[in-house]
Amino acid sequence: MTATTVSTEKPAGGGLKLRIKGQLQQSLAFTALIVIVIFFSFASPNFLTFSNFTAILFSTVVIGTLAIGVTFVIITAGIDLSLGTGMSLCAVMSGVFIVNWHMPLFAGVLLAILFGGLIGFINGFNVAILKIPPFIATLAMMLVAEGLALVISQSTPIYFDKVPAFSAISTGNLISGVKFPNAVLILIAVAIIAGVILNKSVLGRYTYSIGSNEEATALSGVNVRKWLIVVYTFGGLFIGLAGVLISARLGSAQPALGSGYELQAIAAVVIGGTSLFGGKGTILGTMIGALIMSVLTNGLQVISVPQEWQNVVLGVVILAAVYTDNIRRKGTKA
């Protein structure tokens, strides 16, 4: 028998280069994070303190949660613009369930999270079955959710004064003695769970597969429509969770605070190296991206850069991130 050994991998040099390129974005983001932290540490003595450190983590929670969910969607080469207002709607629903309907805390929270899943399910249905482009489908959902949040709450916040346990979800300290908010622990926990699901589960595998080559995936016998709906629904759960976390932090369900969060979350995902063209991305990258966003915001505040300029800086960072994504895409295609 002839041994049929063929060199099938690109020559070592090229292979290594490509592998480095593949991880470039993520390590680049990580390096950027370190650089930014060092910069602000020198710029202001108030930056590198434990209280500011927890403040940064605390402010990462909402964007981080949204970003984790939308990472799955973006890896399928989709997008979700309804994150922000969807979160408002879920926040309002948590108020409705817990305050207006006097549901037990646990049930109310669970239903609010599931409500996010419902938003995702509808997005997924519109994308996978009705074949509406993700951008349009979720843009429409963004408007619907924005309107519904105002209608249901009659444009007034719902306060959780009588349910102090609710606020503790975000602001309590599970680890006694240390001022480390629960919300941060929750974020870390869901990030780990999401990471495992993305890497080890059937859902995760098909998420990558659909985003990388939808047609080949379908030809391999995978029910692409079904799995797209599953992915959007799964991503939606994080919208619900974010809604709960932000209401718990504020002690009230604010019907109009969510809009704008979707773009920050998507920016975090992209900065973290997830390709808007699908097939590539990690939860770790997304977390780094979210941290970069909040470190920048926090640091710029600490060194007293006016709000207007903070946005300019964020915008430039997003441009730089997408540009690196483009270069990376070209690199792997060659």
């Binding site: 099938t8 991998e9 690109k10 020559p11 090229g14 589960s201 990558y208 597969s209 047609e215 792997t332």
Partner: protein, 532 residues
């Protein structure tokens, strides 16, 4: 009972306006490798798509596996019957690993089927690859494999199903010779007395090497089946091209102008083209013939800067020009008319005048950048009249014109632009017979007016009829340049089916002698570099 492994009886397939297959019957015995040959568009791929349920056959014919009539509605059902196809294009997911690709949709699962049992996945992939003696790391990402490696993954995937019938559609198009040998070993090992292979290829030497019998299709009809060992290649080619040339028209003679307009030297691209050299003279129609994937369109795209060149010099009127995008090409006087008019040629929902003026808007606008609609309308009316474009008005949207008239609009755009060299890629594709004649007349007239024309066409009779000279390509190289007198169906097909490494021994074709420089030389080593 000695029923055949596979019998296809009297299968036909019509598409709107075209009969792609007419009453074709072929059969495959147990343990056999059957070659399937035919020119571009002969119906090979349609045939295989019917077999795997991608298309549905017309009423009347039947497909039998092991003597039983089967009804295949989708690729999954074909797989269940043990029929697997390796497509010409890859169906792999670049961002997944080899193992993840091979068992995509069939992953071993654990924990209530929610999670993938990666250990089992990689173990069974390793076992499969070992059994097939394919040396690829199951954990390598497919997108990072060379094309040849991807091809092997595709093959391993097909073999990982319990295939009885394996269909391979041009599987070697991207492989180097040692890899082809690997593939052949795999195919031969696959064949037992329970299985069979249908091998589609236009490389005659491979057909000769690998197959037991060869079935030939031509223009959607079955021509015949011959025993490979006892039939010379020449005879198979004759079966493939055997159709009568519908007209014996030859290219219109041209007065001898020897002015060279375009010189191309050493044109190469990373992906395909290798050292392409040719000249184009004033008033000449230079035909480009070759099979699909030979690199004809790639030459055009590289010429006009639509694809990146890795090497090569282009001279217009003796002066070197630097072309890095189609706008440069246009400025240098090179116009390219794409093979896919609807995608690359026309603004379908815009009107005729907008399409005609698209490439020369600058000429029709004033210094403030405002467009002079009246001037455009006047020029458009002139072109419509001159080219005999049949349209109710220049305000008609391009999508409402017939294929022939759409093509004329595209031609008109480049005439408005006044290019010296026009590259026509499949100028008559999708155009009915009558309109084809008009396009031919138009090309001849353009040539007579001194335009130089490159005509890429997959229709050999068209090339023979129109071209003053014929460039034949195979696998990214020019394998010969024939004058109108030397070019015949047989000589062109012979050059078009040459593989790169065959010794030049049996090539005693006319026209080769004056084309030393275009011969493939130094062939072997640079394949890997090219694939990156």
């Amino acid at each position: 009972m000695s029923s055949k492994l596979l019998e296809i009886k009297g299968i036909s397939k019509s598409f709107p306006g075209v009969k792609a297959l007419k009453d074709v019957s072929i059969d495959l015995s147990h343990g056999e490798i059957l070659g399937l040959c035919g020119e571009n568009g002969a119906g090979k791929s349609t045939m295989m798509k019917l077999l795997t349920g991608i298309y549905k056959a017309d009423e009347g014919g039947e497909i039998l596996v092991e003597g039983k009539i089967v009804d295949v509605n989708n690729p999954r059902e074909a797989q269940d019957l043990g029929i697997n196809i390796i497509h010409q294009e890859f169906n792999l997911v670049p961002d997944l690993t080899v193992a993840q690709n091979i068992y995509l949709g069939r992953e071993p699962k654990k924990l209530r089927r929610l999670f993938i049992d990666d250990r089992a996945l990689y173990a069974q992939t390793k076992e499969l690859l070992d059994r097939l003696q394919i040396n690829i790391d199951p954990r390598a990402y497919v997108g990072k494999l060379l094309v040849a490696g991807q091809q092997l993954v595709e093959i391993a995937k097909a073999l990982s199903f319990d295939s009885r019938i394996l269909v391979m559609d041009e599987p070697t198009a991207t492989l180097t010779d040692s890899e082809v040998q690997t593939l052949f070993t795999l195919v031969r090992n696959f064949v037992t007395d329970k299985t069979g292979v249908i091998y589609i290829s236009h490389r005659m030497d491979e057909i000769k090497d690998l197959t037991d019998r060869v079935s030939v299709l031509r223009d959607g009809a079955y021509v015949g089946t011959v025993d490979t060992a006892r039939t010379p290649i020449r005879e198979v080619i004759a079966m493939m091209v055997g159709r009568e040339i519908t007209s014996d028209l030859r290219p219109e003679l041209r007065e001898h102008k020897t002015q060279t307009v375009l010189e191309v030297r050493g044109l190469s691209t990373l992906s395909l083209l290798k050292d392409v050299n040719f000249d184009l003279q004033e008033g000449e129609i230079l035909g480009f013939a070759g099979l699909i994937g030979a690199g004809r369109t790639e030459v055009a795209r590289a010429l006009v800067g639509a694809d990146h060149k890795s090497a090569g010099v282009i001279k217009m009127h003796g002066e070197e020009v630097s072309i890095s995008n189609p706008a440069d090409a246009m400025a240098a006087g090179l116009g390219y008319l794409s093979e896919d008019r609807k995608r690359y040629g026309l603004l379908l929902d815009q009107d005729v005048s907008a399409n005609l003026s698209l490439s020369s808007l600058k000429r029709f606008s004033n210094s403030a950048g405002l467009v002079n609609k009246r001037a455009i309308a006047k020029a458009a009316e002139e072109q419509v009249a001159g080219l005999r474009i049949r349209t109710p008005s220049i305000r008609q949207a391009a999508q409402n014109l017939s294929g022939g008239n759409q093509q004329k609009v595209v031609i008109g755009r480049w005439l408005t632009r006044d290019c010296d060299v026009l590259i026509f890629d499949e100028p008559t594709r999708g155009i009915d017979v009558g309109a084809k004649e008009e396009i031919y007349d138009l090309l001849n007239e353009l040539a007579k007016r001194g335009k130089s024309i490159i005509m890429i066409s997959s229709e050999l009779p068209e090339v023979l009829r129109m071209s003053h000279r014929v460039v034949v390509m195979s696998e990214g190289r020019i394998t010969g340049i024939l004058t109108a007198g030397e070019a015949t169906q047989e000589s062109v097909m012979h050059l078009a089916t040459l593989s790169r490494v065959k010794p030049l021994g049996d090539r005693v074709e006319p026209g080769m002698s004056d084309n030393e420089e275009a011969r493939p030389t130094g062939i072997n080593g640079d394949e890997e570099a090219g694939a990156k």
